[in-house]
Symmetry: C2
Subunit: 405 residues, 2 copies
């Protein structure tokens, strides 16, 4: 029994292969690399029923994760986030089987932690001492904190409009932080320049192959939490799209492992904001790649990504599962954010709220059926986005002043 | 097999009993009430080994929780928070077996969620339609969100200096929010006036008997996560002290259940801030109750409680376990907060940091031995306290401007 059944890295475009024991970034052809496993051997040695009694973190799926030596795992107890039924809201929007996969309940408070835990662990395993990345905030804070634990030096570049709290997280972790008067694409260029000059590890989205392995565990967990049944629809707030690519990869692996039945995959939905919807536009036009979205703007800052390097993989996942792309207005998603809190008690982030708003739209269009089991992915806590809630007319009392007195 | 083995409510001071099926607040004698269970029947019907395969939330201990009908549970997937070894820091402060029980990894981001989930569930079960409470912030946000899910109207009163983010949480939940230009004791008086006038449920700390039942699950979890072994020391940041009372109650129940061996309990440590240390002072003076702490002030806002209604129960827990009380300076706890993040990757709250600072002090005094297994309780996420981290000299780059360029 091996801890990991990782086999090699493979380019999904040109099928060139690379070693998992050395530092690799993009393929020579420019495409991101994917991790491959000896799934046949996993199937022979592991039963899905074995998983239930394992530790309560994403590392319970260690055979299909890239870290070979358990000693290299950098963990703060991440994963196995709640899958909670939204009964009241589901009834209201006529989706009786509506669920929230709540990625706010995780160290650092967002799903970015999954990529950081697996990515940093593998970086440690292959000997990385220093890394750099551009970020819309949350990935930067997660990678900064996990890097601190792993004794890896981290350099983080984020737009000055990224959520303020993420600056604090990067700073408290002792990482090197830069702000940029621009978008994540501008931060990416700055990191690119640094990497070229200094030769340090590029931890940008999909420029290292392991973050996606962390993200894919969301797919494993959803299926395990539904007793190894797949749902009908999974809605995912799509910026870089790594989570959606990861969930699709997980579903294909689960099929090959025989842990889910082979005849049906959930329809995967890429949810974007109307102010930044390059993937949705490409899907509407039947294209395989997206175009740079000019002057992008949305309150759901985490999905303000004008052009994702893995766009072709996101679109493939949508096409192959008969999914779709949906754009939601900021007004709608902020309204739904309040509605979820007032109805279900979950203070979710604007990105997560976009998926619930999209579920409602797709139900109205009858693309989602009443009988469908529907998973909305909330990628983080509302408390990381305090500006998404406004406060008005909160009464200030003096000591001993009665309410309504 | 019953879902809950709750038997009745009992006054720990005068031993008067009350029904668990009706609304009860304090005992006639003024003391908080405690929940009693038919533990003998639990022992006969449940093996501790049965727990392992149950759902991953605090409701896995439902036999020793007060909710009789499972349908009344109001849950967002709370509990079973990580117990993570702090290896590097433990080595540094010469406590090799140092652990963090990380209550940041929970819906709403603090341990207050446990009390809210169990308290609101039981309130729903006994027919409460409206409740009110004073809060230092985090309990208010948790109770507001869980009340929203339970369709209970909540009125929350908090000091104007309470963490700003908690205002947003209360507001987004749709609860009624008041600020007071004073301390939580002032907020308590205002709520007291409202309760008297309006006759609604008083959800103040220990004025309803069920919050403590939620908090005690931290004790059950710590023991289960250590494979049903007790640690040597548990350090707890003490404001109202409900968690410490709850953990002590859990340990006594676990002993009676035979799920831990009867010969040893962990030494319980009440950690306070130097600017507000009434329990520590009472312990130093060998007293059974504390005195109101005048002009209290600390950066660890959640433990700024000048006089706790359950102080005598906290002190009993300390005395009975050969524990102690320790006060930490704001300077020390803020320094340790950074050190934990930079060394271990956990961005913990100031209150949680106080316990790590206290562990270091107690080790220096040799009150903690090198061989002790020591649990520090981090009651919440650092991100709820952005002001605890200062940002200085973060460089702002223009697009295309290289780092160090």
């Amino acid at each position: 029994m091996e801890f990991s059944y990782i086999s090699h890295l493979e380019c999904p475009k040109c099928h060139e292969t690379y070693s998992e024991n050395e530092i690799n970034q993009l393929c020579k052809c420019g495409s991101p690399l994917l991790v491959r496993y000896r799934l046949h051997d996993v199937k022979a040695n592991v039963q899905k029923e074995d998983i239930a009694s394992r530790e309560n973190s994403l590392w319970r799926y260690h055979e299909v994760l890239p870290v070979k030596d358990q000693a290299n795992i950098v963990s703060l107890g991440e994963g196995m986030t709640p899958l909670v039924p939204l009964e009241k809201l589901g009834k209201k929007i006529d989706v009786p089987q509506l669920y929230l996969k709540d990625e706010g309940v995780i160290p650092t408070g967002t799903f970015k932690t999954r990529g950081a835990s697996v990515g940093v662990s593998k970086a440690k395993e292959i000997g990385v001492k220093q890394l750099a990345m551009p970020t819309n905030g949350n990935a930067g804070s997660a990678w900064a904190l996990y890097s601190a634990k792993a004794d890896i030096k981290a350099t983080i570049v984020m737009p000055k409009d990224a959520p303020k709290i993420t600056r604090k997280e990067v700073a408290v972790a002792g990482a090197e932080l830069y702000l940029v008067d621009g978008l994540i694409s501008d931060a990416g260029k700055i990191v690119g320049g640094l990497i070229e000059k200094e030769g340090i590890y590029d931890a940008s989205t999909l420029k290292e192959p392991y973050r996606i392995e962390g993200k894919k565990t969301m797919g494993y967990e959803i299926v395990e939490q539904l007793n190894w049944e797949v749902p009908d629809v999974i809605l995912y707030p799509t910026g870089g799209g790594v989570g959606l690519i990861g969930i699709y990869k997980a579903l294909l692996e689960l099929k090959e492992l025989g842990w889910i039945s082979a005849d049906k995959l959930p329809r995967l939905v890429a949810v974007q904001a109307e102010g930044c919807a390059p993937i949705v536009k490409a899907w509407q036009e039947g294209k395989r790649e997206s175009e740079f979205w000019e002057n992008s703007e949305t309150a759901a800052f985490g999905i303000n990504v004008p052009k994702a390097i893995g766009d072709f993989l996101v679109l493939e996942a949508i096409y192959e599962t008969n999914g779709c792309g949906v754009a939601v207005s900021d007004e709608d998603l902020l309204q739904v954010q309040k509605e979820v809190a007032m109805t279900e008690g979950n203070f979710i982030c604007p990105e997560g709220a976009a998926t619930v708003a999209a579920a409602q739209m797709l139900r109205q269009q009858n693309w989602i059926k009443e009988s469908d089991k529907v998973i909305c992915l909330n990628t983080g806590q509302g408390i990381k986005y305090p500006d998404s809630v406004s406060l008005e007319n909160i009464p200030l009392l003096q000591p001993n002043q009665p309410i309504n007195g």
